[in-house]
Symmetry: C2
Subunit: 342 residues, 2 copies
């Protein structure tokens, strides 16, 4: 896993200027060792919505990454088992298939790696060990049967396979056909005048130096190769203390390299209108304020209110269509409870 430095990311930006705007693909890349099948998607959906993957049966993946809305919990930081709060704001699960690294600090290369984290995190789902999660799932006959069908082999219920199924479901969570996508494909009526102005503004200001590519989260990189940026790049603005932007060292927590202090994965702009509050600590309540903060901290510019409104209109045009879904039926556990007693 490599962190792109500020310099290389600027080079990237130059080479990518002409293709800052791309429609979102309708299908994800699929890892060779985890092909997608209908049965695996359904199994992954069950696991994603199953609170029995948490210690006390109260938290599922969906609790913080709500697929029924923008893929987050719209909270500054998430609430896990026992009312405990996490340290960072939940990123959206929608279109996460298009990210080359997962988590704010890029500490997981793939969706499979990512899925293994929150299940064990004490402030999230709080299972004591991978073995405990596997034992929980193995206790549920319907899951055992599905894992056999999906993965085969003599012992298909493994922590790796739990993660593979969840990741497979997540790869279906793609929001195509936003007004922007329709516009870029040729429907010039799909975006408002303000949104079109905003699109020009983000390019001319330089926002798309980082927020480019179909997911507006940077260039296409090999899985595990993150696209990071320093935030704030320009230090000393009023926002820094107002929103506590620097106390979490971001990528540095993973690598311990000084160069990675306050480096963060460039987040997607897709559906950003639905994922307030903003930034790694969820400290900024509104999209317009987030735009002002980014202008100042990343470009050293005080944006005009017109620029802010236009950029907001453009970002709102990146809200896609959320594919209709059936509700999973969680496999029964009969005559007793797996989560009853704390």
């Amino acid at each position: 896993m490599f962190a792109r430095s500020l310099i290389t990311s600027s080079l990237f930006a130059l080479s990518l200027t002409t293709q800052a705007f791309e429609a979102l693909p309708t299908t994800p890349e699929v890892p060779a060792d985890n092909p997608m099948t209908a049965e695996k998607i359904e199994l992954g959906k069950q696991l994603f919505f199953d609170p029995r993957l948490s210690k006390d049966g109260t938290i599922s993946c969906n609790s913080c990454h709500n697929v029924m809305s923008g893929g987050t919990d719209n909270r500054s930081v998430s609430v896990g088992v026992g009312g405990l709060k996490g340290g960072r704001s939940a990123p959206t699960v929608w279109n996460s298939a298009f990210l080359s690294t997962q988590f704010w600090d890029g500490r997981a290369a793939t969706l499979e790696d990512q899925a293994k984290g929150p299940i064990l995190a004490g402030v999230e789902m709080a299972m004591p060990s991978p073995e405990a999660a596997v034992e929980r799932i193995k206790s549920i006959p319907g899951y055992v049967e599905s894992f056999k069908t999906v993965f085969g082999g003599s012992d298909p219920v493994t922590y790796d396979n739990i993660a593979k199924a969840i990741a497979t479901y997540e790869r279906t969570l793609i929001t195509s056909n936003s007004p922007f996508d329709r516009y870029i494909r040729g429907d010039k009526t799909a975006m408002s005048k303000a949104a079109i102005n905003g699109m020009k503004t983000v390019e001319s200001l330089g926002c798309t130096s980082c927020h480019n590519g179909p997911n507006f989260s940077g260039p296409k990189l090999a899985k595990g190769e993150g696209f990071f940026q320093k935030f704030p790049t320009f230090s000393g603005s009023e926002y820094e203390s107002k929103y506590d932007l620097t106390s979490d060292l971001g990528r540095h927590n993973v690598t311990k390299n000084n160069a990675d202090k306050n480096m963060w994965r460039v987040p997607t702009w897709r559906n950003v209108a639905l994922t307030a509050p903003y930034f790694h600590n969820g400290s900024v309540e509104t999209l317009e304020e987030a735009i002002r903060v980014m202008g100042k901290t990343q470009l050293n510019k005080d944006l005009s209110e017109t620029q802010v409104a236009d950029i907001s209109a453009f970002l709102n045009s990146l809200t896609g269509e959320f594919p209709p879904q059936t509700m999973p039926r969680l496999p029964d556990y009969q005559n007793s409870s797996l989560v009853a007693i704390d």
Copy 2:
């Protein structure tokens, strides 16, 4: 609202012996002032799954009454906002349309009345007032539009209408066609030998004195007229202290009548295999132990292990078919969060 005394409930039992076993209706009774429409069901489903109806955006109706499984959280007591625990075990939402009173103590006459409780309960969804809940929903444009379509009028987003929509969705949550229902309709292969034995046993022992009618929760009564029973009826067994059966006074908390001490609504047997742990305080982990406790405390009988196994087989035959559902799409709130900051 009237509490049936032990004496009247026994009289009921006598008169009902011949019809202790009835198939579950496939449609609910619908109150005249809250007719069901497809739009209202969909709106109610959105509200049922929307965590924005809780103070901090973490708890929806579905958090404790999980429609994707047996309609409960399978916990002894539920966990609400801030990790706070409630005092009683969440009853299942499935087939709640067939109950003549709601809550363990029957303090709500209808599903509409019931829906108004947890939203405001400090240990559940913790909204500070009905007005705050209405304001929250009114802030979300998609809801305002749906309430207009569903309820009409100049000010359709009201606390009453929120409850009416949720109740309407809940009336669709019916699990027909259990093995028992197929058996009682003539398919004599639908139930196992043990289950058939269990069916005879619950009748001969007298369990169906209370657990009768299509929902096995007592006779059909006018809405608001609860069917209550004292639990334990026979005091002094080892179970009383072991499972703390008497410290919660049940119906007495509502009426303050001495006669209502430790009186509880007779709960449904439908899908009871999926709703462990058992009783108002969720203190009993397994269905078999719950059967033993009921035999001793309600009938003063020490059931044999064969009786327990047969009754368990019968109760498992009451697990119905859960109708497939589409996942609701929660109406968007854009560019800011309604629940971001605690």
